[in-house]
């Protein structure tokens, strides 16, 4: 792989756009390529500086006034710090609303099979709420399950569930999950999880090794 390949990967890594396997591959390469390591430091600093530049432009009040006159309602405008604070608060509220009750024992479960794609639970919540990407996942991504009908499921925090939630290699994998589910809280206690392709091929319950 040539230098440009790794330089482009570097950019995608900084933008959190690499798949988990590609992230690992890049991190391994980073440790063995001094040029890329130096570029990584520079580009990281550049990205940080551009972030600081982001909010240096805002809509002038005269333009707001014209929009108000034309469309009859003032645009809601917040200072960037207020926007961040409000987004964070909204994120906290949404997480609180979306999160299943901590005491899963109090919920009633039924046995079922759920098919879907493994995705980051927090990122899905943020995206669906129009919040800034990653704002809920500041402490790391936690895997959840998105069904074809858009339903978002969360794994229970038992041993099996915790292993899946922290396994970024599962990201974007189409899977079939068998276990006990609570429909109201969209919570799954996993008994087995297998790649959907294998299930469809009728090869049996060749579950992910965990």
């Amino acid at each position: 792989m040539d230098k440009t390949y790794w330089q482009e990967r570097l950019q995608a890594y900084l933008d959190n756009e690499l798949e988990p396997a590609d992230r690992k591959a890049f991190e391994q390469h980073l440790g063995s390529d001094q040029d890329i390591a130096a570029e990584f430091k520079f580009m990281g600093a550049l990205k940080k500086r551009l972030s600081a530049y982001r909010d240096s432009v805002s809509i002038p009040s005269s333009v707001e006034q014209r929009i108000r006159n034309r469309f009859g309602k003032p645009p809601r405008r917040f200072a960037s710090t207020w926007l961040i604070a409000a987004s964070t608060l909204a994120a906290v509220i949404l997480v609180a609303l979306f999160l299943p009750r901590l005491n899963a024992e109090a919920l009633s479960f039924e046995h079922s099979v759920v098919r879907g794609t493994i995705s980051c639970y927090g990122c899905e919540v943020a995206q669906r709420s129009g919040l800034e990407q990653g704002i809920i996942c500041l402490d790391g991504h936690e895997m959840g399950l998105v069904c074809a009908n858009g339903q978002l499921w969360r794994f229970a925090s038992d041993k099996q569930g915790l292993a899946i939630k922290g396994d970024q290699d599962l990201y974007k994998k189409d899977v079939e999950v068998s276990g006990m589910i609570n429909r109201e809280e969209r919570l799954i206690r996993v008994q087995s999880i297998a790649p959907l392709a294998i299930v469809k091929a009728g090869i049996g319950s060749l579950a992910f090794n965990r």
Binding site: Q7, A38, M43, A45, K48, S51, S58, V63, E132
Partner: protein, 199 residues
């Protein structure tokens, strides 16, 4: 009308920010925002709920800008890049100990917004718009690709070239200001510890 007011108008500031960064002057940015809102209003029934409203609006902004940009090129006019900030270079402080966390931090602490803006003005439009969307508007590669109607791989490569171009310009600026030791050879990559002047 109410839905438009409730959903689109709160995004006016984001539209303006994008428009300003594309047009690089206030007057054109204002026109772009108003044209975007009018077009969004008339085509609001074409917006698909569940998709990113901001991405849809920025697609409209960009479309209007590109049409104006092409028209101006046909008419032989240049897009105005008004220099609105006073051109004052930051003087490197005598006591550099506070900046010596690493060379990159030191360099970027000395780079003004106006420096960044000028460096961005040098970028070709197809690099600039990717940089604006990803770095200044926090769009994902997928959203950026959708807005620009290009593959995500192209977003990645254009972004790489845009940032490399900024890197080259900012290192050059750092050299001119004595933040980085001048060298005879061409700028070819990131700065290293020994390239930074420590007073």
């Amino acid at each position: 009308m109410k839905e438009f007011q409730d959903t689109v108008l709160p995004l006016s500031n984001r539209i303006y920010r994008f428009a300003y960064r594309l047009a690089q002057n206030e007057r054109d940015a204002e026109d772009l925002v108003q044209d975007t809102l009018i077009r969004a209003f008339t085509k609001f029934n074409q917006y698909q709920p569940g998709t990113s409203l901001l991405a849809w609006l920025l697609t409209i902004t960009r479309s209007i800008f590109i049409n104006q940009y092409r028209k101006r090129q046909r008419e032989g006019l240049q897009v105005r890049f008004e220099d609105m900030d006073i051109d004052i270079d930051r003087i490197a402080p005598a006591n550099l100990s506070q900046f010596s966390e690493n060379p990159e931090t030191y360099l970027f602490q000395s780079i003004l917004d106006a420096d960044l803006r000028r460096a961005m003005e040098q970028l070709p439009l197809h690099y600039l718009e990717v940089l604006i969307l990803v770095d200044l508007e926090d769009m994902s590669y997928r959203e950026t690709a959708d807005i620009l109607n290009i593959p995500t791989g192209t977003v990645m490569s254009r972004l790489h070239r845009a940032r490399k171009s900024l890197q080259k310009d900012l290192i050059e600026l750092g050299r001119k200001r004595g933040l980085i030791k001048p060298r005879l050879e061409a700028v070819k990559g990131p700065i290293s510890e020994d390239e930074v002047s420590h007073g």
